[in-house]
């Protein structure tokens, strides 16, 4: 099988794509945002609860999309749950760099991270938006 495809679709991606974790609506929640990829129609709804210490207590999503977008959203929720907002923002920055093909100046992510599985997306520029849809929704929710 082609290496590029194996890199893009690592086992963990296929697994999370098929069975996304934290799938549903977070209740109660105080932050939410919609993610949308106008190029293909994929979409998701992200909800999370930010407590008074600025920690993401719980985070969930629903939506429809390809394996990359679902896995990315699923892995994102796993990674962000329990994180302080400042840390989450750093992860967001690192992640967008990672999937755009540059993993040089990462501050908080490293190769041990499950999110690293999405690095293969960098070789498929048209798929970067799939991988970042949930993250942009997250970033949007913080701004709202």
């Amino acid at each position: 099988m082609n290496d590029l495809i194996n890199d893009l679709y690592q086992e963990i991606i296929l697994d999370h794509g098929r069975e996304p974790r934290n799938f549903g609506k977070c209740e109660p929640h105080n932050k939410s945002a919609d993610g949308h990829n106008p190029l293909c129609g994929d979409n998701l709804k992200l909800t999370f609860l930010l407590n008074d210490q600025n920690i993401i207590e719980d985070i969930k999503f629903t939506g429809e999309g390809c394996a990359i977008s679902l896995a990315s959203a699923s892995l994102m929720t796993e990674k962000l749950k329990g994180k302080k907002i400042e840390v989450a923002e750093e992860i967001f920055k690192d992640f967008t760099n990672l999937v755009s093909g540059s993993d040089e100046d990462l501050k908080v992510l490293n190769e041990e991270d499950s999110l690293y599985a999405l690095k293969g997306v960098g070789r498929f520029p048209m798929r970067v938006k799939c991988a970042t849809m949930a993250w942009h929704a997250f970033n949007q929710a913080l701004k709202d």
Partner: protein, 410 residues
Amino acid sequence: MDDSKTFNLNVRKDFPILSKKILEKKDLIYFDTAASAQKPNTVINETNDFYKNHYSNVSRGVHTLSVESTFRYEDARKKVQKFLNARSENEIIFTKSATEGINLVAQTFYEKFMQKGDEVILSLIEHHSNLIPWFFLRDKYGVALKFANIQPSGEIDIDHFESLFTNKTKIVSLTHLSNVFGTELNEKAISICKDKNVPILLDGCQSAAHLKIDVQKLGCDFFVFSGHKTYGPAGIGVLYGTENLLSEMPPYQGGGGMIGDVSLEGASYAELPAKYEAGTPPLVEAHGLGIAIDYMNKIGLDNIIEHENEITKYAFNKLNEIDFIKIHGGDNKRNSIISFNIKNVHSHEVSSFLDVEGIAIRAGHHCCQPLMKHLGVNSTARLSFGVYNSLEEVDKLVIALHKCKEFFNK
């Protein structure tokens, strides 16, 4: 070797991009002609030659190069006129794309013939290009839009379509060939418009180059297509309109080239077709489109259509046999386009997987989100064929689709 194979081998030599290797080793199999067609050598060389040897602005000067440029631009118009069998060159307006043609009609037809509360009939299978320009009329001027339903086959439900007409219906705009299903518009839709005396625009983006077009026989009032889908350059499109309507409608954009006489108090407008061609047009692209039409004529549109029909039918039957593939639409004839989904595999995955096998297909909503919603999917995979495709390529696709299904359901 049989005829069809020889035909194909000869045609393939005309398209230099077909010798490209994808990811350095896979032969390119281009199944995305509906998005944009590849270009034959003649188009590539002739547009180059235009810049090298003949280029200047059109209709502006009297020097040699201006004459040569103008000649090529106007000659392209003649070729388009013949290609569509329009009555006169005055009915051929060069635009930048089909999209611009539809916007032009929506705006100027509204200005002349419509008012608040009037109605436009569209359908559920329209490309966003044939929706949004009309949405503008709804949002800005209070025009009402009505949408014809489709049958499970993907065809417009003619009875429903007919029931939408009222005495406020001012114009109808429908796709001539669906860019999702590949099915042709039922001619009854046009005759209903004739009976009711309501002008109809046909979005011919997918039919030009894949069906024989005769606007007079079709009886449409407007017909638009894009050069880049008919083996010509991007940046040039065509609007055909009857001389009657085009004469009555006001100009679309103002600028150089579309005027009769200008003073500071006002202006008179040029005759057709210049009236609708404000500013310097995409002249080299227009010439390129003319060359693309020459190319299709040389191969023979009948031969092209026969060849594409053979491939489409072959691919349809092959895919239809595969239990994990669902083809959208019914069993009716398709013209060079097939949309499908693989069970439990998102079309993005299919497209990325095929890409590394060298196979280019389109995945997404194909700019038809209302239709996707109706089909209950958020995207499909789409195959679309051009004159250069071969049966062998379809065989390779089928093998790749099996591999794809296996990979994602392991």
